[in-house]
Amino acid sequence: MDKPVNHKAWFLVLPVLVLVAFSAVIPLMTVVNYSVQDTFGNNVFFWNGLGWFEDLLSSERMWNALGRQLIFSGVIIAIEIPLGIFVALNMPKRGVWASVVLVLMSLPLLIPWNVVGTIWQIFGRVDIGLLGYGLDALGIDYNYTQNPIHAWITVVVMDVWHWTSLVALLAYAGLQSIPDAYYQAAKIDQASRWKVFRFIELPKMAGVLMIAVLLRFMDSFMIYTEPFVLTGGGPGNATTFLSIDLVKMALGQFDLGPAAAFSLMYFLVILLISWVFYTVMTNLDKRGG
């Protein structure tokens, strides 16, 4: 870019800035204020400095929740991305079935998160749920309310069920943008199906796949409603992810100071990821990806 950027246009976003100040900045400032103080209610606060941050950084509880969160995000990305690509590759490219499949694929994305949690909560129950009852009938001792591994599998499968179609739709959009000439050239060269995928489809999908990975990472990193409705963070703390732990701390125990410090650290991680997301996307745009 040779032309200097004229930053004066930024003043036009002032009204939005005022709105955001009331909806986000002022509450965030309050959280920062809470994070360095202690309170026993009645709006009376005591200075605690960086004590809460120090406590949290050495608390096993937060690191465990962070660990579970990272494992969860890693697992669902490792499943949803290849599965989404696989589904997209097998979706019809044109004709009436293409539209039908697109609508079907969009359906899980339209269901509110708490409803998804409720669906799976009932689906997995051994007494009335189809999945739980079916597994029980097959002789598998499945109980997601008592067995941590079963709870994890259920939460992961629920997320895969809910969000794989997003990845598939993004990958499908990437595939649709590949001109036929590429496939014709591959055919002339007698390229195998794998080579067509590896050297034509995958590079052409790289941009949207990057967006899919970042979207899924961000979203899963902030996940709250679905596991909360399904398992409530249990059994024990087995599926207590960061946001569930934060809500427990802030609203369950009413520990405003530690919860504020916790949410600030959580916010910083989210901010970092959002920045990476934004940077990658704008750079892809510039490169014409």
């Binding site: 004229n6 930053h7 204020n33 103080q37 606060f45 960086l50 950084l57 910083l268 970092l272």
Partner: protein
């Protein structure tokens, strides 16, 4: 304002950030610049570099608090070095 539970240190903290934002806004308006590509391979303006500096400083402070056990003000020294590096090379 009492519900926001303000303290002097947090007031100074936000005041400093607000001043930085105002200074960089004035700079951006008075001296328009061309974005440049640095070691991260991404185009950055002064504002971007300020953001990277502030975000990095937050993590430096947390790491200092969690790992070193030394007095916190020393972390600010690392942050200043970080800021200089970001503005020079990013």
């Amino acid at each position: 304002m009492s519900w926001m539970a303000w303290t002097l240190p947090t007031g100074i903290f936000f005041g400093t950030i607000a001043c930085l934002l105002v200074i960089f806004t004035i700079l951006a308006v008075r001296f328009p610049e061309t974005p440049r590509t640095g070691v991260l391979g991404i185009e950055t303006t002064r504002g971007d570099r300020l953001f990277i500096t502030l975000l990095g400083s937050a993590f430096i402070n947390l790491a200092w608090l969690g790992l070193t056990g030394m007095p916190q003000p020393w972390a600010m020294l690392v942050c200043l070095i970080w800021a200089a590096a970001v503005f020079r090379w990013v």
